[in-house]
């Protein structure tokens, strides 16, 4: 690209130099392009993208001449604009696919117009009345006192389950045998062994029943049977003598004399 093409407009070059000094003031290449576009002093919709691309390239060239380091994205944009410019100037290449140069230019114009619109909108938003600057909230806030209320939950099912639980707790006691109204022979034997030494004279078997087993008929029968079986066992051992005067007569016992 010939130099004189870039610098054919002296005013433009001077303008680019003036802008380039301020390079830190731009928020990226798009911002710079927008600033350059404004120098065209036309509606953004009527802007010449070709002219804008040229302005930008002049800017970059000026920066180079002034030995100002430009961030990479400015250079990427310069390369892209150089490409766009060549596409815009040259007749369309039928071999090339992708968007036309006009599409690319139109999109750039759209981007500039949109950025401009957002800037204006931002300014309008910031120009609105603002809370804490133009209008104000209540200054004296009354604290809301928080009170805590406990609400107890209980459903009918809970209630019924609880009751059922109580009434059937018996059912769920750890397994053990209830003491049946039966005196075991072992118990009777132990007991008899303890008292056998005191039975010197013939005595009725029934007088040796444990006190708590004498009254309830069921228990009494069980105790008689057990005590009788125990005394038979002791007779067999030879430590006790038994006698009965007749059928259904009282059974008597005494210690066997050694």
């Amino acid at each position: 690209m010939p130099d004189d093409f870039l610098f054919d407009n002296r005013d433009e070059r001077m303008q680019a130099e003036a802008l380039v000094i301020n390079v830190d003031g731009y928020e990226g290449p798009l911002d710079l392009l927008l600033t350059l576009a404004r120098t065209q002093k036309v509606d953004l919709r009527k802007i010449s993208i070709l002219a804008l691309a040229e302005q930008y390239l002049v800017f970059v060239e000026a920066a180079k001449r002034l030995r100002i380091e430009l961030a990479a994205d400015y250079l990427v944009m310069a390369a892209w604009l150089a490409y766009l410019k060549s596409r815009l100037l040259l007749p369309p290449d039928p071999e090339e696919d992708g968007p036309s140069a006009e599409d690319l230019a139109a999109h750039l114009a759209f981007q500039l117009e949109r950025l401009e619109a957002m800037r204006r909108a931002a300014a309008k938003i910031m120009g609105r009345d603002q809370l804490g600057r133009d209008f104000f909230p209540r200054g004296q806030i009354e604290e809301v006192r928080a009170t805590r209320r406990v609400e107890y939950e209980a459903t009918l099912v809970d209630l019924m389950r609880a009751y059922a639980g109580i009434r059937t707790r018996e059912d769920f006691r750890p397994l053990h045998f209830e003491r049946e109204p039966v005196l075991s022979m072992e118990e009777a034997l132990t007991r008899m062994k303890g008292i056998i030494g005191t039975i010197v004279d013939w005595s009725d078997l029934e007088s040796f029943l444990p006190e708590e087993w004498r009254h309830d008929p069921k228990k009494r029968r069980s105790a008689i049977a057990a005590t009788f079986a125990a005394s038979l066992e002791l007779a067999k051992e030879g430590s006790l003598e038994l006698r009965q005067s007749g059928t259904f007569e009282p059974i008597q016992m005494r210690k066997r004399a050694v």
Binding site: F136, V150, I166, R169, F172
Partner: protein, 205 residues
């Protein structure tokens, strides 16, 4: 020299708006002199305050004077709106629900009878809680030695549990039929542990 002094004070209605806005936004009550310092020269602050007080008369907010300071305040009858109630859901303790169940099924019932059925003593805390909830109340004294008080359930209890009548409560057989009695013991509590705690509670009551 302040430029405002060159101009007439704004109309009273405008002064009223101004004082209203200042008193609304300020963090603390303000004296007439402080208000005047914020307003254009020549404002009739005292008069405006009276106008404003009248305007808010009977509203949800009032312009109040405390000493020589003025402030907007919530109308005293609406103070209750400034309380936010947080409701915490809590399960009734097993002791409480069992006691309640026994009272519901056996009413009127004495404390001794409840204890006999539960097999453990009933803490005062439990009875108090059930009373507070409005689910049980004192019934007639039992005409037996010592004339012990009895407990019955209340209308509130019936409402809460959706019962017409305590007699509508299902009996054991129905409970079992309803599957409410699975043949497993209730989650095992070591015997009387919970109630020991309760007894301790009672000591500290």
């Amino acid at each position: 020299m302040e430029p405002e002094s060159l101009f007439e004070a704004p109309p009273l209605a405008e002064q009223e708006r101004m004082v209203e806005a200042i008193l609304f936004a300020t963090a603390k009550p303000m004296k007439i002199a402080e208000l005047a310092a914020r307003l254009p020269h020549g404002c009739e602050v005292a008069q405006v305050l009276t106008m404003l007080q009248k305007r808010y008369d009977g509203r949800g907010v009032r312009l109040m004077k405390a000493g020589d300071e003025w402030a907007f305040r919530t109308a005293p009858d609406l103070g209750h709106l400034m309380q936010r109630e947080t409701v915490e859901q809590r399960k009734l303790s097993r002791a409480a629900i069992e006691t309640l169940a026994i009272i519901a099924y056996h009413q009127p019932v004495t404390r001794a009878e409840i204890e006999e059925i539960r097999g453990v003593s009933v803490s005062r805390g439990t009875v108090d809680l059930l009373m507070e909830l409005g689910w049980i109340k004192l019934g007639r004294r039992r005409q037996t030695p010592g004339r012990p008080v009895t407990f019955t359930v209340t209308q509130g209890f019936l409402d809460h549990f959706g019962l017409e009548n305590a007699r509508d409560l299902p009996d054991l057989k129905e409970l079992r039929a309803a599957g409410l009695l699975d043949n497993r013991p209730a989650p095992t509590l070591p015997d009387g542990e919970e109630d020991e705690d309760e007894d301790q509670d009672e000591l500290f009551d």
